[in-house]
Point group: C2
Chain length 135, copies 2
Amino acid sequence: MRIGELSRRTGASPRSLRHYEDQGLISSRRSPGGHREYGEETLERVDRVRGLLGAGLNLATIRDLLPCLYARERGEPAPDLLDHLCAERERVTRSIHELEHMREALDSVIHRSADVGGTLVGGSRVEAAATLADK
Amino acid sequence: MRIGELSRRTGASPRSLRHYEDQGLISSRRSPGGHREYGEETLERVDRVRGLLGAGLNLATIRDLLPCLYARERGEPAPDLLDHLCAERERVTRSIHELEHMREALDSVIHRSADVGGTLVGGSRVEAAATLADK
DNA sequence: CTTGAATCTCACATGGGTGTCAGATTCTAC
DNA sequence: GTAGAATCTGACACCCATGTGAGATTCAAG
């Protein structure tokens, strides 16, 4: 698939996709004329990159960590990466705790709000209850 | 306490602390001469702001969501905030999942690496095992 | 072929969070 | 008082991810 389709299917702008490639996060073959050509597996990879970006990691960190997600099996990371990995793991753990804490607070507020306005809720309110189920 | 001490104790630069105040995230009284004066409770608040910043939220979002963390008891949020809250909750949940996934991968890689180099590990390697305990 | 959509590269701009510098004012300790 | 440290405001600069525009090239359909 080419960059337009990848963009539509991932929500990342072509500009961002090219940038991810420049930074070594994704790769592409090129058509005879020089157009980027992506395999299906790039879809999931881009999704993951965007997810991690949204979770506060920067492109350089994601570039370093992504290989740990794919090909978990083959090849240890270079041993001098271990400290870096542990440090990043700690950062990740802290962010998780922070977000969980925030989510609990949101749940609390959403619940109370839903309880009160429960009788006359409109369409978007229903989603509140549904969203709460994903816990 | 004044801005210097708050900066030292939170790790946030005075510049950032003033910015947080401009954006309505923290508040301060002023000394007769105009210097900012913070209460002890600001410490935890700044920590939380920085944690959420590191977890990918921006200042505007944190400003909107922080009241849900503090004063959970008094005052519902304005009803027209509920949709926003639910949307943010979803974002938070997605980030948590993303980070958990990444952490599992990191654990897997760290474990393998630690197993292999287990016999000749140095000081920083020990922390790897310790860090793994916080799961 | 030709034509219009898509893509290419390159450059410049923007927004959010932060760093840094300048010059003035305030605080603290002698 | 006075000196030195800390803080004030305001402006400018930087980084990073992304937007945007120009101008050239390629692709796909008639």
